[in-house]
């Protein structure tokens, strides 16, 4: 037992105690806080000991060496603690995924969403849907297996309506922003003709000098991306080559222009720094370079600003934060990742399939498919691949 070996005793459960850690021959390693969590009422469901050492690399290495010397002890594999918690039934799959996202969360928004999933918000929701489908299934099965007995009623009129309502609930969830968006950030592409001030604005927004700026048209030839958090909201800003088709662009710049165009398609929002009305639909009209002589204001500018002087920049930033918050999962609201989205879509499709059917047998089959999708969503029927993908994402230990 690691605690007895190093600390000389097992402290009372779930209470932080000070202990002198010694190696096999009695040499003092560190004076540290130790904690003892007896299973099964702990995170993984198994006995758990924690050593809170001083942070020096040598201290940690010495403690690890002493631990490794104890027979049967080894380093945890990537994701092992979560895997064990899952294996012991302490958490379900959606919660495990939430935990993974929580560990990977880099912004406040991502943290809140991951926390909601890790806390079982999605699982509870799925459980609720599953219950509803089970109820519907039971009704159909009753009609199929007991129709010749007393309550030989056909399906009630509200039945199809109930299926439709459930399908609609699922569709609403499916229409919500996905959790990957939290990792990728709200994608803002700066576009416009050469020399419109895109790179200067890019540097100002990302508070960096990542993009080279110069008065020479066509300075930016490739796509530059940078992720930053503004007000706790993750953004990815993309600076692009100026769009021109005057035949003056050389081969490299032309490739850059093509890339810029493809970026426009991927954007959540385009900041258009070019002539009024020349941007893609939905783009924000930005009247940049307001500090310059000969500045032409836009009549319907969303924002007028100067990245050099900083004028109007604050307004743009808060405008961006507001837009991003609407497009990203709400804080504390469980968000679906791609895998969960796919499963939920299956369930929704099955339910929608059931609506058009009159044969209760086929309705029952579609409901079974929906149940199966829910089971897979929270990991009741799970495959090795999915687990590998899931647990491969964790770094050492927790």
């Amino acid at each position: 037992m690691a605690l007895e070996n190093l600390a000389g005793r097992v402290p009372p459960p779930r209470r932080a105690s000070l202990a002198h850690l010694r190696d096999g021959v009695g040499g003092l390693l560190d004076v540290a806080l130790v904690l003892w969590f007896p299973g099964p009422d702990c995170a993984t469901g198994e006995d758990l000991a924690e050593f809170h050492c001083h942070g020096g690399r040598a201290v940690v290495a010495a403690v690890e060496r002493a631990l490794a010397a104890i027979p049967g002890l080894r380093r945890a594999e990537a994701g092992e603690f979560t895997r064990r918690a899952f294996a012991n039934g302490r958490i379900d799959l959606a919660e495990a995924e939430g935990l993974g996202d929580l560990l990977a969360a880099e912004t406040e928004l991502a943290r809140a969403a991951a926390l909601a999933n890790a806390g079982g918000a999605l699982s509870r929701q799925v459980e609720g849907w599953r219950e509803r489908v089970l109820g519907l299934s039971a009704e159909v099965e009753g009609v199929l297996d007991f129709s010749d007995e007393e309550d030989s009623a056909d399906l009630p009129e509200c039945f199809t309506w109930n299926i439709a309502a459930l399908a609609q609930d699922l569709r609403q969830w499916l229409a919500r922003p996905r959790s990957e968006r939290l990792g990728e950030g709200f994608r803002v592409v700066l576009a416009g003709p050469p020399n419109a001030g895109k790179s200067t604005l890019f540097n100002a927004l990302t508070e960096s000098e990542a993009a080279i700026t110069s008065p020479i048209a066509g300075t930016t030839r490739d796509v530059i991306e940078r992720s930053v958090a503004i007000g706790g909201v993750p953004f990815t800003f993309v600076d692009t080559a100026g769009l021109r088709d005057d035949g003056l662009a050389d081969e490299i710049e032309s490739i850059g222009i093509d890339r810029a165009k493809s970026q426009l398609a991927r954007a959540d929002l385009v900041l258009w720094l070019g002539p009024e009305g020349g941007g893609p639909p939905g783009a924000w009209e930005i009247a940049a370079q307001a500090d310059r002589d000969g500045f032409v204001p836009k009549r319907s500018a969303s924002f007028t600003l100067s990245a050099t002087s900083g004028e109007g920049l604050g307004a743009l930033k808060s405008g961006l934060v507001k837009a991003a918050r609407d497009a990203l999962p709400k804080p504390g609201e469980a968000a679906l990742n791609a895998r969960q989205h796919a499963r939920l879509s299956e369930a929704a499709e099955a339910l929608e399939g059931a609506q058009g059917l009159s044969d209760p047998l086929l309705i029952a089959e579609e409901l079974r498919r929906a149940r199966l999708a829910f089971d897979r969503l929270i990991g009741r029927a799970t495959t090795e691949d999915m687990l590998d993908t899931l647990f491969g994402r964790f770094c050492i230990g927790k």
Partner: protein, 616 residues
Amino acid sequence: MHHYDVLVIGGGHAGVEAACAAARMGVRAALVSFDLDAIGAMSCNPAIGGLGKGHLVREVDALDGVIGRAADAGAIHYRMLNRSKGSAVWGPRVQADRVRFKAAVQRTVRAQANLTLVQGEAAALVLKSGVVAGLELADGTVLDAPRVILCTGTFLGGILYRGEERFEGGRIGENAAKRLAQQLRAADLPMARLKTGTPPRLDGRTIDWAALEEQPSDGEEWTMSPLTPRRVNPQVFCAITRTMQAGHDAIRANLHRSPLFSGAIAAAGPRYCPSIEDKIHRFGDREGHQVFLEPEGLDTHLVYPNGISTSLPVDVQETVVRTMPGCERVAIVQPGYAVEYDHIDPRALTPDLQLRAIPGLYCAGQINGTTGYEEAAAQGLVAGLEAAAAVLGKAAPQLDRANSYIAVMVDDLTLQGVTEPYRMLTARAEYRLRLRANNAATRLTGLGIEAGCIGPQRRAWWERREDVREMFHVKHSTKVHARELAELGLPVRRDHGEKALSEWLRHDGVTPAALAPWLEEVTTLDPLLAEEMAEDAAYAPYLARQDAELRDLRASEALPLPADFPYAEVPGLSNEMVERLTRAAPGTLAAAGRVPGVTPAALSALLVHARRRIAA
């Protein structure tokens, strides 16, 4: 002198199928019964088949079993239940004349090659170092056999209840196999008690049939077994009546006299087939409950009132039936009663229905906690085939949840156990779109031929049928242009292009009959097969969708878990999981997933560990 390969104890539906199946496999089989004349008796409802149950009958028949043809021989009323719904849940059901049914069973067992009938009371098993070696009869005779199948129904520790009265025994008038029961108890098998019941039998001559709604036999000519060329008996009609408030009042006033409510019977009865006192107690607000009056035979006046199983005292039974319309002056010939009996926890069995604790001993039928002739027959078939296959050192037909209700039942029983008498329901089968009562032969007879349990008559029938099926496949793949269909007046858009007939069959309004110009030639060869093939075509998209699921299932079926798998050594399995898995001893990873309460997480831990063991 008395040497056999497979010995079957009990001559009910399970015993008959077990003995005949073993004999068909070619081993020396014997059937032991108290009373050889009682072989094939129907102890309760004189009906065979129904929802889910009809599927079992057709499957047992497809493996050349007895029950389907015997049902046809006794049938005096045919009904296809659920006719208005999808064909996968149609439930063929017949009412059988008891005498004719039993006579047919007796003819079959007596004519069966390799089968000896032994009259005697099974007293005790002969065990050699814990393994079955034979059976001792009450008169001291010893029968040697390496495989023994127990099909003893409710005879095991059965007690009958009727009001305040108690009788020992399984059916009225027969002894319970007490010594054998003691021996099984001593083996420390996991046992539990269940309850079942039967209604009073009425004298049909005292029923005013004219006052009641008739339920005639189906007009069509289908039969339970495809080997029965046509219906043989005159068809009778049933009638429908119902219980009335006055009857309910009498039941309520006497509930305390029912052993179900006085506390005398604690065991669980079937929720889907409650006694009339249960119905009144639980659904008190209902005005009445439907009762089907079913004649028990052509040469008897006995009528079985389906829906009022009861253990109330005789005087109350009389009051209740006489409040039913048409039954005002009815006479009870034999009162109803409840039976409480022991059953073995079927989780103590391996998927071949062999007791893990006593190698060589198989259990089939009600002893495993099931109810119904059909469930019993199907288990008897499995035990008989498996025991014979074990003697011969070969494989029994490979049944799984995707090819038969039989396997669904065996899997449910051996993994989940029972909390009430187990009855087949179509809802228990995940893949029921492919498990139809009308395609049992397609699903199973080929497997049976491979295993060697199909007689020459059925084999010849099936091979002819396979030839016709091939012809259907060819016809169904004929490409036909939408225009041609539209010109026949079918609801198809002319610009729909060219499609195979099997695809056209999925369109609303395109029936097999409408495609007669292309299909008539083969349809006349086998109209029933034509229906089956058309359904295959209609269900095809759903079946295709299930294929991926089935691939997953078969992959995990392919990962074996030996009976002595050390669950306690699997890292990350909680004690609760270890206990559940150890008790159920699933044979494969897929089976482990169906053990109740086993989490997916536990499964993945199991998967990793099992793989590692195989690799090691």
